[in-house]
């Protein structure tokens, strides 16, 4: 299910004094099985862009074509499209509503009018995928969940629809480091095992650097970079300029490079950094 976006522009509150253009002339293509990171400073328009992928928003100008279906087409089956393109929202409180975890996860498949056994199977599978133990959590009260558990329940609720594309909108925001790590593991596993096309929106460069094969950088509603992860991070200065923070490893390596170390322009993991710095020290290239 590729997504093809052509010259997309979008304004909120069109035709009122508060009209605000949020997306400007965006073109991009997302292939099957990709792991794409969308980054950008807050208010850059990331959420607005992503909501076009599953037709929650319909283009003002330009077109969005998902699996050869134009979302602006009056005859398009958008309900079916939304089952195929899952979207996990920033805030799980907007999504969770049923009294128990199990019932909430069953909500999506129930909307597909599946037989009861199939729904139950899907709920069990989705809970397993996100690491919520079935026996412990199936009947657990939604309000008794911790922040991290709520996110996982929300992800499971979308997974139970069996999407082929999964959009994760800032799902680690506001979690403690342990909670973040768990969510990231879940997402990574889904991508590698189920080969779900994953679109990961985040403010955290560390997460995107670690997860994504390709990164789209948005700034003020425009695509600034759209490239392989490593190549995007070569533009370190520009990224900082628009208000993003480099991954932690890179903020160290760029400083070392300024101090005379001979390091590559983009360093994405601690292992890489360690190797490169060690090589420098062995060769004795550094003066002090």
């Amino acid at each position: 299910m590729p997504i093809e976006i052509n010259k997309l522009s979008y304004s909120y509150k069109k035709g009122t004094p508060f009209e605000k253009q949020v997306l400007k002339d965006i073109s991009l293509f997302i292939r099957d099985g990709e792991f794409v990171g969308i980054i950008g400073p807050t208010q850059a328009g990331k959420t607005t862009l992503a909501q076009h992928f599953n037709a929650l928003l319909i283009p003002g100008k330009g077109s969005v074509v998902v699996n050869a279906m134009n979302t602006a087409d009056k005859k398009a089956d958008l309900v079916k499209l939304r089952h195929n393109v899952g979207y996990v929202f920033q805030n799980p409180d907007y999504q969770l509503f049923a009294p128990t975890v199990g019932e909430d996860i069953a909500f999506g498949p129930r909307n597909q009018n599946l037989p009861t056994e199939e729904i139950e199977d899907r709920v069990a599978e989705a809970m397993d995928q996100v690491g919520l133990d079935y026996d412990t959590f199936y009947k657990r009260d939604i309000f008794a969940l911790s922040g991290g558990q709520k996110r996982r329940a929300a992800i499971a609720g979308v997974l139970a629809c069996k999407p082929q594309i999964m959009i994760l909108d800032d799902v680690t925001a506001g979690l403690d480091p342990g909670g973040r790590e768990e969510i990231i593991k879940v997402i990574q596993k889904l991508h590698t095992e189920k080969e779900i096309t994953t679109i990961y929106i985040s403010n955290s460069m560390d997460e995107v650097a670690m997860l994504a094969d390709r990164i789209i950088v948005l700034d003020q509603g425009q695509v600034l970079f759209d490239d392989q992860t490593r190549d995007v991070f070569l533009h370190a200065r520009k990224l900082i300029e628009i208000g993003l923070e480099l991954p932690e490893v890179m903020s160290i390596t760029t400083r070392l490079a300024e101090a005379g170390f001979d390091l590559p322009g983009a360093v994405l993991s601690i292992e890489e950094a360690v190797d490169a710095i060690a090589a420098n020290l062995q060769q004795g290239q550094v003066k002090d």
Binding site: Q51, K80, N91, N111
Partner: protein, 275 residues
Amino acid sequence: MELTKNITLGVYLPGETYIHNLDPRTKIIAAAILITLLLFIKSYLAYAIFLFLIIAILVIATIPPGYAFSGLKPMLPILVLMWLFQLFLYSTPDAEVIVSWWIFSATDAGLHMGNLISMRVLFLFTVTTILTLTTSIVSLTDGLESLLNPLKKIGLPSQELVMTMIIALRFVLILAEELDKIIKAQMARGVAFDRGNFIQKTKSLFPVFLPLFINAFKRAEELIVAMEARSYTGGKGRTKMKTLHMGRVDLFAGLFILLFSALIIYVILIVPPVI
């Protein structure tokens, strides 16, 4: 999908026009006078004059009329229903039947009643909307508090009342924004709000209103904590950062409203009511 687009009540449209710069008390009193007048208007001529005033105010305040009236869009179904009710159910002994269908019959009296009541609601809404569009929340609060101050002597907790009212007004927009997000989150899981029979449609509202109420309570609680953390203990002993000040412009506006009221009262007295 944008719910908040058509919400104009409680929205402030910043500006530096004559109307924006009036003392909030002037605007509140003027709105109160206009609303009172509206309750007595029973002729099309008076409504026409009133419309003229509304448009003049919109022009002076540089509010696009299309925007000011767009807030009525969500109310339209109710207005139409109300109009139909009056049309078919209201009648006077000497009324003439214009259409009849099955057990229903519409009279000219019903038609006029429907028109008058719909216009009254329309104008009431527009006057209030213009007030909030041209007055920031802070000035609105200050103005209302200052006007209600004398009532404190008879034990009315005016500051608390105003605070409650203003918060309620703010929540209209906040809740609409939340509703928008919640609807999207549920649509993402395949809810089709427009499909199915009545029972299915009603059921599809649960996943939307439950999170809305829960989040509203949560927000209210957060607000309480935020207010208490800043030592809010009610209106007693609070002072103002900005003091209100009436100037010549306010005098002028006041005189104008008085003249206008005289005109409308004159019309009310000489033009016979349509019903």
